[in-house]
Subunit: 330 residues, 2 copies
Amino acid sequence: MNVAVDAMGGDYAPESVVQGAIEAVSGLDIHVTLVGHEKAIREALGTNRTPDHISLHHCEGVVGMDESPLKALRKKKDSSISEALGLLKNGQVDAVISAGNSGATLAAAVLSLGRINGVERPGIASILPTERGPVVLIDVGANVDCRPAHLLHFGVMADAFSSTCLATKNPKIGLLSIGEEGTKGNELVRLARELFDKSDLNFVGNVEGRDIFTGEVDIIVCDGFVGNVALKLSEGVVKMMSRLIENELKSSILGRSARILGRKPIGRFKRRLNYEEYGGAPLLGVRGIVIICHGGSSVKAIKNAIRSTAGYVNDRVLEKMRFRLEDYKP
Amino acid sequence: MNVAVDAMGGDYAPESVVQGAIEAVSGLDIHVTLVGHEKAIREALGTNRTPDHISLHHCEGVVGMDESPLKALRKKKDSSISEALGLLKNGQVDAVISAGNSGATLAAAVLSLGRINGVERPGIASILPTERGPVVLIDVGANVDCRPAHLLHFGVMADAFSSTCLATKNPKIGLLSIGEEGTKGNELVRLARELFDKSDLNFVGNVEGRDIFTGEVDIIVCDGFVGNVALKLSEGVVKMMSRLIENELKSSILGRSARILGRKPIGRFKRRLNYEEYGGAPLLGVRGIVIICHGGSSVKAIKNAIRSTAGYVNDRVLEKMRFRLEDYKP
């Protein structure tokens, strides 16, 4: 098992990526190939000795977080993300993880690996915590303008992913809309609903924004614009609430005491909602296992992403997704 | 000042609506006309004497929360929402409030009052709490499929509303997208951005989901599908977090003590995020002041909605919006 990690990708790269890789391989049978500028990686390692279960693959280029993906990829043929995907294509590694420019990862993955037969548009699946376990939200940003069939494919791929990698039996799939009735929603959702109704998926109908975090469905399908807004909004609300609670508690003597006493339970609560615990977001629909991590990924987030990715490889999710998609070929 | 309230609209109508009206008029120079079935309203009042500053307008019909708006309006000519809007059209009241079927309120308002010149699509503006004061999110559900000009009009109307009724000086307007750059977003947003760039509004560019609750902009414009998902998602996240904190605190002795000590600060925090404090959502773009309340509105929510609506009437927001829209006539 060998996972290539884009050592140059992310707001805290290469330090947090390198450290996350070291922690991930510790005690487990995982090998990580750090892809990026050797000098920068060696500096982050703090030693010239390469740790056990880690290897380096040097390349010069880096796609910046704010660069235009396609332009950057054309200009920098040897960027860390392209090189990492090259290793995957050639069978030298089993998966690729990047916390770098997600548009570039998406574009490079499609260009380099190609799409699974029958998939017009790969989608990014975000795994979110709920009170009852994880929910998969797809797509969270790969496709901003979708056709109904794209949404159906997202559902099929997430179904294969969820049942394989998250061990969810016969996952319940909901279509994100603004009312439960099939007549509600925009044109895209109304047409997609007809496709879902005809499918053999465990489709439970429309769900609303408020249902995303109840855990009543296992998979929520939407276009990448809506999904990205929803994902970032959730992050924003959680942050605001955490700050507000802290401030309210700090502002009174009783509150300060409560804050000290409640430190552990409040800590547990924050962890339950922390994306760091849940690894990265798989890009479903390309011919390879590619995981997109949050740009602000910490050491812990990278570590967990590597470990869950190793699980996806073991679960042979790719073959299962291909097999599942056979039924939905146009 | 006379505000018509749809006494039959809402999950807890007529009881909570009637009680909310009684509390709203107490001590203030506001008159409320309760529109609905007289017998039901009298029962909710618990007396045959009509309280001061309250009057009744009897009608037979009610549009149910789950009825198809247009069908119900066609069938029930004398529904409470149609009757209330009739009073507004005839100048007998100054504004209409309903916590009933929001699709029916929207459709009836457009049919009965008509649109302000230059407005193709009225939009529902939700006023949300942030750490720095209220933010206006428009549209939250009136229009699920929009054209770029509709988004511009939402911005213009919210600008007039925010500067008049919320006393925000030169409100900062952001367009909800999935990246700050103008090239990011779906086709609708990219085209709308060009219109905003050319406008004389205080347009600050694209904002993302995580920016909705930071309070850095005063107005956030989006189509009604995205806005409705965002609104309901925020509600869902706040509820889930409140439950999770409660559960974590309940599950340990220290946590239980913290919960008792922290009751007041945590209560303050919940109130800050409670829609009940913020009244209803104005429907901007129709020829009259119409406020749509949450279906689950409590007594307090109705009371606050009536009081803030009285403020909008006093601020003469309608005239100011008409005046502002003159500049944007097609």
